[in-house]
């Protein structure tokens, strides 16, 4: 295993994140002769979609499905490429000069990078409903992670709630693994179909069409599906029941586990802290980095590939990683041979074809993004929707000012699970757009590190003698 002391002080290319985008980018660049390091904070490569691809205890390939096992080729490709792949490495800082702060095994290093590809992917969109902080309420992605990485399958009374492809995929994988699902609460607003239908022709041509239909059929044959307009997790020490309302009135289901999911959004923290400009994407209801055709950001030498560049899925992420890597190779080693970009772009285009349909269909209802009353918006600081709304009404114009009033976004998750909610709540109260309101201004360290780790940074004689200013 690589230790901090084994790292060189600089690399031509630093790739951050070991999912499909990061693996494909690192493999391509290293093969072209670029000195490449890939940092990933998880115990193994694969990111979330190919989580634990090299170590999963799930032996039956049918359980996770062939799309999952496609990740093995990417992992092999990266391993064979000559790129240095470092797991258990947390990147906590990146600046405009492309100095990368990374910590592994309790030791920190500052690494100079000729180019940086941020491939930190996506996270699940916040799902702020009453009771969503109770033990026993988790994300669908969490249950999928436990299945992939540890072979843990849900066993007690389980309800899935929300919308989006991952919800149905998890349901199918869980059922195949012998897990229990008592019900699915489908929160997709019916009127979403109107918008989505406009994009059906493209979606029908995309690889997701047939897969999606098959998944829906597989799950619906085994699990009751209820439409839900409101959902509440009820309990004191842990979730005991889920209360939902739909066409048939209000119903209560006893549960041991409630799994929430309403799509994924780019994980913007590192790019935001590096000063990369972001813009609101109204179709995907999230902030996305402003990027050129080669995924270069507003900060020279820093690209954002994969779902971090806007949600497009795992296969598209790998192609985006390759395009970003080709741009890096061309900048660093103009003479090096690189694959044909046009073929990659064609594959990417095919992967992205169905996205508009999926985005429109799975656009979460306002009521699941814009909470009210005592529903918690910021989980870390336990700030309620009502507090955020009232503070916006008082005149607070943006999330950064909101921190001073309420501390929302200032807890350990650094806004990851409240940022979008707070921005949208302020925009709603002040009758403006999320783009006008903006997002939290994030600063390093974007992941917590100890003073001991910071103190372990090597220091040169010149630095030691320099007067601090």
């Amino acid at each position: 295993m690589t230790a901090a002391a084994d790292l060189a002080p600089s690399y031509e290319l630093v790739v951050i994140g070991g999912g499909p985008a990061g693996l494909a980018a690192a493999a391509l660049a290293a093969r072209a002769g670029v000195s490449t390091v890939l940092f990933d904070e998880n115990p193994g490569v694969g990111g979330q979609i190919y989580r634990a691809i090299t170590s999963t205890p799930v032996r039956s390939r049918a359980i996770l499905g062939e799309d999952y096992w496609d990740g093995a080729a990417l992992a092999d490709e990266a391993k064979a490429s000559g790129a240095l792949i470092v797991n258990g490495a947390t990147v906590w800082s990146l600046d405009r000069q492309r100095l990368v702060g990374v910590s592994l095994g309790g030791k920190a290093r500052l690494i100079e990078a000729g180019r940086v590809i941020i491939a930190t992917g996506s996270q699940e969109r916040p799902f702020p409903i009453p009771g969503w902080t109770l033990p026993g309420v988790m994300t669908a992605g969490a249950a999928q992670t436990a299945l992939k990485a540890q072979g843990l399958v849900v066993g007690g009374r389980t309800v899935l709630a929300g919308s989006g492809p991952l919800l149905w995929l998890l349901a199918a994988q869980t059922l195949r693994a012998g897990g229990r699902i008592d019900a699915i609460l489908d929160t997709t607003p019916r009127r979403n179909w109107l918008q989505a239908m406009l994009h059906l022709p493209d979606f029908a041509l995309s690889p997701y069409f047939a897969k999606g239909l098959a998944l829906l059929r597989e799950v619906r044959a085994k699990v009751p599906v209820h439409r839900a307009a409101t959902i509440e997790a009820v309990g004191t020490d842990r979730v005991r029941e889920v209360v939902f309302s739909g066409a048939g009135g209000t119903r209560r289901l006893p549960v041991d586990l409630l799994l929430l999911h309403q799509g994924v959004v780019p994980n913007v923290n590192l790019a935001n802290a590096a000063g990369v400009a972001h813009v609101w994407n109204d179709r995907q209801l999230c902030f996305v980095p402003v990027l050129d055709a080669e995924f270069g950001s507003s900060v020279p030498g820093i690209a954002v590939a994969g779902d971090g560049a806007g949600i497009a899925g795992g296969t598209a992420a790998a192609e985006r990683g390759r395009i970003a890597a080709i741009a890096a190779v061309r900048a660093l080693k103009p003479q090096a041979a690189v694959p044909d970009t046009q073929a990659i772009r064609q594959r990417l285009q095919r992967e992205e074809m169905g996205r508009a349909f999926l985005d429109c269909l799975n656009r979460p209802a306002d009521s699941f993004r814009l909470p009210e009353g005592d529903t918690i918006a910021c989980r870390c600081e336990e700030v309620t929707a009502k507090q955020v709304r009232e503070t916006a009404q008082m005149g607070c114009e943006g999330p950064n000012q909101m921190k001073a009033f309420l501390r929302c976004g200032m807890g350990p998750c650094q806004g990851r699970l409240c940022g979008l909610t707070v921005t949208e709540l302020i925009a709603a109260e002040r009758k403006t757009t999320p783009d006008e309101v903006g997002y939290y201004r994030l600063r390093p360290p974007v992941k917590p590190i100890t003073l001991a780790e910071l103190a372990s940074l090597p220091i040169s004689e010149a630095e030691r003698k320099a007067v601090e200013r």
């Binding site: 998880n42 359980i63 988790m138 843990l152 998750c413 917590p448």
Partner: protein
Amino acid sequence: MFKRLADSSPAIAISVDGKTVTARAGDTVAAALLAAGIDHCRTTPVTGAPRAPYCLMGVCFDCLVTVDGVGSRQGCLIPVREGMKVETQLGRREAGR
């Protein structure tokens, strides 16, 4: 809440608040706690409410625990090791005041 598909991975003994818990190779601390049926791993600093792992991918920080004496570690990112000492955390620094 969770059951194991197979117990084929080697057993690893860790201690959680002084009690021995059998985890499996490949478990993260958070996964081991879930598999052992432990109901929460910390309380919150504001209201003292119990929290358990929520996202399992390093985003939510609800799975913060003390690992081998170092507090506020993300349990979902740390693989278990034989003899590892895990402690659940109290959110309030001034508990009982």
